[in-house]
Amino acid sequence: MITRRLGWAAVLVLVLLAGGCGGTPEDPTAQVDSPDAATATDAPAGADTDAATGAATDDGTETTGAATETPAGDGTAASGEPIRIGVSLPLTGDFSEPGQGIREGYEVWAADVNDAGGLLGRQVELLFRDDGSDPNTAVSDYEQLITSEEVDLVFGPFSSRLVIPTSEVAEQYGMLFVEPAGAAPEVFERGLEYLFYAAPAIASDHYDYLAEWILALPEGERPATAAYASLDDPFAQGTAYGLRDQLQEAGIETVADEVYPPEQTDFSAIAARVADANADIVVGGTQFEDSVGLVRAFQELGYQPRLAAFSTGPTLPEFSEAVGGAADGILSPVGWSDRAEHPSNQEFVASHTEMFGRPPSEDAANGYTVGQIVAQAVEGVGCAEQGDCQTQLRDYIRANEFETVVGPLSFDEAGRPLAAHMIQQWIDGTVEIVLPEGSEVQTADIVNPKPEW
C-alpha cells in the first residue's frame, strides 16, 4: 500500500519536475512576515506546480517557509525539491495560544534554515494543519500528511494530550517524531521508538532544582507542610506530582492535594480548601487561567504561604498584569530563557523579533528546538525522506548530543531529554532565573520567604 503510494509519488515528482521547474524555486510563498495572512499560496512557477499547491490549500493546509527571501537566480538558492515537513497544530480552540507560539518557532526556524541555504542544499517547506485542539483531528491530520501529502518529515503538535495519540500514528508509519510539548511521563511509557521530546526535561523533572534547593534548606527554614492543586492534565499533574513525590519522601507533609477539571472557571472554592490547610508551600500544577485564578483567590482569602510555585502560567509575560502585581516571589520551572547565552539562542531571539515584532515565547523556543534537532540529524545522516531514512535519523538522534536554544540536549532510549529545567522567580516585576544556584544562567538570588501577595 505504502510502496504503491511511493511509486505514484515518484511519478508525480517526475511530472512536476518536468512541467514545473523552469529554474524557479518552488512556491515562493514568502508569507513568513505576516503568518496570519498565510492562507493563499500563489505558485507562479508553472501549471503543474500551481495545481499541486492549489490542491494542498484546498484541504486546509497552509504552506509557508519555502524559498523565503530566496529569489530566483540568487546564488544561495537551493537545488532540487524542497524538504516538505508536515505539522498539525492547535491553531484554534483551547490550545490556540501555545499552538501559535510553536508555529512561530517552526516558521522562524524554516526561515533561518532557508536563508542559510537550506538542508542538504534543499529548501524546507512547512505544511501546517489546524487541528482545533482536537485529538481526533490531529490524528487524521498526521495520517493525511504522511500518506497523501507524503511529506518528508513531520514535527510534533502541542501538549501531551495531542502528542500521545499522534505519536502513535508516526510510530505506525515509522516516521521520526520530534515534538515540542509532550512532556507528561505517560508520553514516554508506551515503548515508542521514534519519539523525542525537544526540551530540557520531562514534566516530572521540571521542579528538580527547586526540590533540591528546598531539601537543602536548614531545618528551621524548610517548609514542614505543602499543599498541591493541579489541573487534571497529564503535563500539569506531572510537574506538580514530580515535586510532591520528592518533598513527601523527604518528610514534608502533604496537607492538601486538589485536582480540578480543565473546564473549571471558578477557583475560589478550590482555593478555600487549600487555604484552609494553611501549608508553608503551595504548589500549582497549572496552566495560565488557573494559576491566575488561584493566586487571585488566595489573595482574597488572605492565605500567605512562605513559598509558592506554579507551572506554566507565571512564565507568560501577561501573568504579572493578570494577577495585579501579586506575582512577586512566585516560582516556576522554565525550560528556556531569552537571556541564556547558549549558542544560537541570541540569533533565534533576534530572528523571531525581526519576523514577528516581539520576542519569542517559550513555546516558540521549543518549536525552534525541534527544528534544530531534526536539522542536525538530517545533515548528519544525509537524507530526509520517508522509509529507511527515518530509522537512520532516529538512531542518529539517540546517539548524539544536539546544540539547541535551550542548551545541549541528548536523549534516553524512550526519547526523554536528559537535561533539567531552570527555576525562575518574579522579583520586583521582572523574571529572574534563581536556580540552579551558582550556574551561569542564574541572574538573581532566590527570595525566601516570598513577599506577601
Binding site: 490556540s96 495560544e97 473549571q264 472554592a269 482574597e300 482569602l301 501577561e318
Partner: protein, 294 residues
Amino acid sequence: MPSGSLLLQGVALGVLTGGVYALLASGLTLYFGVMRVVQIAHPAFLFLAAYLTYALNTAFGLDPLLSMVVTVPLFFVLGMAIQRYLIARLRREDLGMMSVLLTFAMAILIEGLLGLVFSGSYRSVTVDYATRSLDIGVRLPNDRLIGFAVALVTLAILFAVLRFSRYGQALRATMQHRDAARLVGIDTDRTTAIGFGIGLATAAVGGAVLALITTFFPAAHYAWIARLMAIIVVGGLGSVSGAAVAALLLGVVESVVLVSLDATWAGLVFYLFLFATLIFRPQGFFGGRLAERF
C-alpha cells in the same frame, strides 16, 4: 469532612457565585420564554462584552462597571437587530432547532473575531479593589461582592420591568398568545425585538462582571453553554425568578461539594440537577405555567 469554617466559607462563596450565575443566565430565560429561541451564542456575547470592557479599560482606563454605559446600549441595539434581521426570518415551526444552528454559528463567528482582533492570549482586567476581601468571619472577596450586587440590581430591574411596566404586560401577552396580543393592538414584532434586545443587554452587564472576576480567551464561552442551559432548565424555562433561584441553589451546592469533596464532582452537580429535573419535573422546579412566569 471539612471543618465548619471551611463549609461556611464554601456556602458564602457559593451564594456569591450563584448570584453571578443568575445574572449570566437571565438573558437565556428571556430569549426562550419570549421567543422559544435557544440562544447558544449567549456565553459568546458575554465574552464579547468582557473583551469590550477590557478594550475600554486598556484604551481609556475606564472602570469595568462604568464601561456598561457604553456596552449595554450597544448590546441592546445589537440584540434588536439580530432578532429583526436574523431570528425573525426563521420559520415558526422549527424555530427551536434552527435557532440552535443560527446562534451556534454566531458563537463561532464571535469566537473567531475575538481571536483575530485580540489574539488567543489570555486577557484580564485588573482593578486594585478587586483582589481584596471583606472579612466577616468568612472572607467575601470584593470582586464577587460587586458581581453579586450588580446581579441583584440587574435582576430586580428586569423583574420590575417585566412584571409592572406596560411593556412587560405587552411582552407577557405576546408570550401567552401572539395572535390575541396582536388583536388588542400590541406590536408583537417590536415587543419581541425589544425582548431580545433586553436579553442581550444583560449579556453586556454579565460580561463586565466576568471581566472583573475572571481571565478570558476567545474559546472561553464553551465552558458556559451547558452550565447556563442547565440553570434555566432547572429553573423552569422562561422564568426569570426561577432561574435566579436555580442559579443560587446550584452555586451553593457546587461550592459546598467543592470544599467537601472535590472539583470533578462539583462539575457534575449541574448535570445531576439537570437529569433530576427532566425525570421528575420536566417543566422545571420553579416554573409554573408559562403565563404566570414573571
